[in-house]
């Protein structure tokens, strides 16, 4: 089992969600909404622990369950945050919920980022679209424990200004001296975009201060992004097993039972969702 930042709390029955309360919700973009939830039971809220990069199964009883990355950081305990895109049955019904409504959540599941190994390293974090969901957790965690890490590069691309998740949060980071934040959009349809315009791959030329052998890269975004970003990272000479990707598959249990996320003998839910590029080279089907 994964080495979390603290030991998993064993639930009596892993298929039964805990009831949590929606504390806050607001729209990040037209179809992505931010949800902050808190366990109903005080004890659970206090002992909640997870790893950046892990995910949880969020349930609406009577509709179904779906996996969502945790966007919050374990360094700010008591709350969980998700950003959810409205695409189908479960997500639509989650979108109908209001603050103070209850929602089922179980987990955390998956390996998450190997935080122990990341300690003392330079980080290059690249995200696009919904990829910000799991990576925000990593970023916030790294910033909360700033001394544990070397240089931090944060590259974030969106199609249009209106589609960038956590825009204000990231613009605030531009101001920070201890992190190199670069934001870009493929096209600026507003004419008022203050940051860069161009594909996320164009940002790599500005990465200067890293020691490749001591760098870990993390990528999450739409499938098309991976191939090109990986090329850039390889150009920077970051070792293949230090390039980390967070992947997506259909999941029905989150705990290695239902089989849907299997690729060969790999369970995306248990052995992932975070994989190294080296794993992926050896598992053709992992990215398609």
């Amino acid at each position: 089992m994964n080495e979390g930042l603290c030991a998993d709390i064993k639930l009596a029955n892993d298929f039964q969600p805990d009831m949590m309360r929606i504390v806050r919700k607001y729209n990040l973009t037209d179809d992505v909404r931010f949800f902050q939830v808190r366990p109903m039971e005080e004890q659970k809220a206090l002992t909640l622990c997870y790893n950046p990069g892990q995910f949880m199964m969020v349930s609406r009883l009577g509709v179904g369950e779906a996996p969502f990355s945790i966007s919050s950081t374990p360094s700010r305990p008591g709350l969980l945050e998700f950003c959810i895109r409205e695409v189908g049955q479960v997500t639509q019904s989650i979108f109908r919920l209001n603050e103070n409504d209850s929602i089922g959540v179980r987990g955390p599941y998956g390996n998450g980022f190997p935080m122990e190994r990341l300690k003392g390293r330079d980080l290059v974090i690249t995200m696009g679209g919904l990829g910000a969901a799991p990576l925000r957790s990593l970023i916030l965690y790294a910033l909360d424990n700033r001394d544990d890490f070397g240089e931090i590069y944060l590259l974030h691309g969106a199609k249009k200004p209106g589609e960038m998740l956590f825009k204000t949060e990231f613009f605030d980071m531009i101001e920070r001296k201890d992190v190199n934040t670069m934001l870009t959009v493929d096209a600026d349809d507003t004419g008022k975009w203050p940051a860069k315009v161009g594909l996320v791959t164009t940002l790599f030329k500005d990465i200067k201060q890293i020691d490749p052998a001591n760098t870990f890269a993390a990528i999450c975004g739409p499938p098309v992004m991976y191939k090109f970003v990986i090329q850039e990272l390889l150009k920077l000479k970051i070792p293949k097993n230090q390039i980390l990707l967070s992947l997506e598959r259909r999941m029905k249990c989150g705990i290695g039972k239902c089989g849907h996320c299997v690729v060969k003998h790999i369970y995306t839910c248990m052995d992932g969702p975070v994989f190294s590029y080296w794993d992926v080279i050896n598992m053709k089907e992992l990215i398609y």
């Binding site: 089992m1 009596a12 029955n13 892993d14 298929f15 039964q16 009831m19 009883l61 009577g62 509709v63 179904g64 369950e65 779906a66 695409v87 189908g88 997500t91 997506e248 598959r249 259909r250 029905k252 249990c253 705990i255 290695g256 039972k257 239902c258 089989g259 849907h260 299997v262 060969k264 003998h265 248990m270 053709k284 089907e285 398609y288």
Partner: protein, 342 residues
Amino acid sequence: MRVLKLRKKDLKKMLEKISSFGELWAPVKKGDKFAFQKIDNLNDVDPNAGRTILPLKKFMVPPRFSMFRYDKDGYHEQLGEVTDRVVFGAHACDINGLLILDKVFAEEFSDPYYIERRKRTAIIGVSCVPDEFCFCKETNTDTVDEGYDLFFSELGDDFLVWVGSSKGDDMVRAAEELFDENISVKDIQKFIEWKKWRETQFKMDIDLTAMPDIFELKIDDKVWEKIGEKCLACGSCSMVCPTCNCFNVTDTVALGKMEGTRDRCWDACTLHEYSLVAGGHNFRGSRADRMKLWYTHKLQAFIGEFGKPSCVGCGRCITTCPVDINVKTVAKTLRGEEVYFK
């Protein structure tokens, strides 16, 4: 391990004596095949029954069941509804299949629904004679040393009874007077001879040597397209395979009320929706890709992980797939021994 003798003609008596351990289930003729069914009349029990349509997994993970009920007050576990059962007539390959399911369901993040049923289901194995579709020798699952409570081996007029668990021991004690502790040298001789004879009865010609490597080499072979063209995506092969464990989870909800159930049902990687995700992307949109997954999972990936295939050689896919896609035809085709898919 405790080993005893039971006279074949005492089988009925013995099963009667252990009736307190749970409902008795055994293979009963269904059409031209067999199926494990609840036994109301002990005369229906046939220790020589052939392969059942569905394997033992149906006892541990029913094809469809409710995990829990929910209403506005919260969840209500449905585990209490699991009944005690004694399943008589399990073949070695099937018990080996259970051992593989144990790995999936009973280790890390154990599945309480599986475990509860596994605990409450006593397994009585019987030795069997292979038919033309059995190849458990090739998968090393023709014998089994664990995973059962009792195992009955052929011994002429008797059964040699292997006690495999504490529950098994209790069952034997409940019918103490029918068992004989004394196993003679002659008995042992007879047992060995029978086993040797059984070895000679395997008729199916199949060779699984180096399968993982062959898969690696043939993973982009055109033959997968051909297999995909043929596959009906009917899921039958997965349903009947003792080691296929995939499932789907769905919710039901009552009319106009906040109550319902969260249900599980068998799913299969051969089905269209298996890898479909929101937004319409299907990681395995083509049947060829799904077939590839099925076979690599059974014959390559599992070997890599556990040192043995997740096929137990029961022959069910061979006797079930309407279009003859099965371990035999796929393995032979990949080896280039015979071309089944044109």
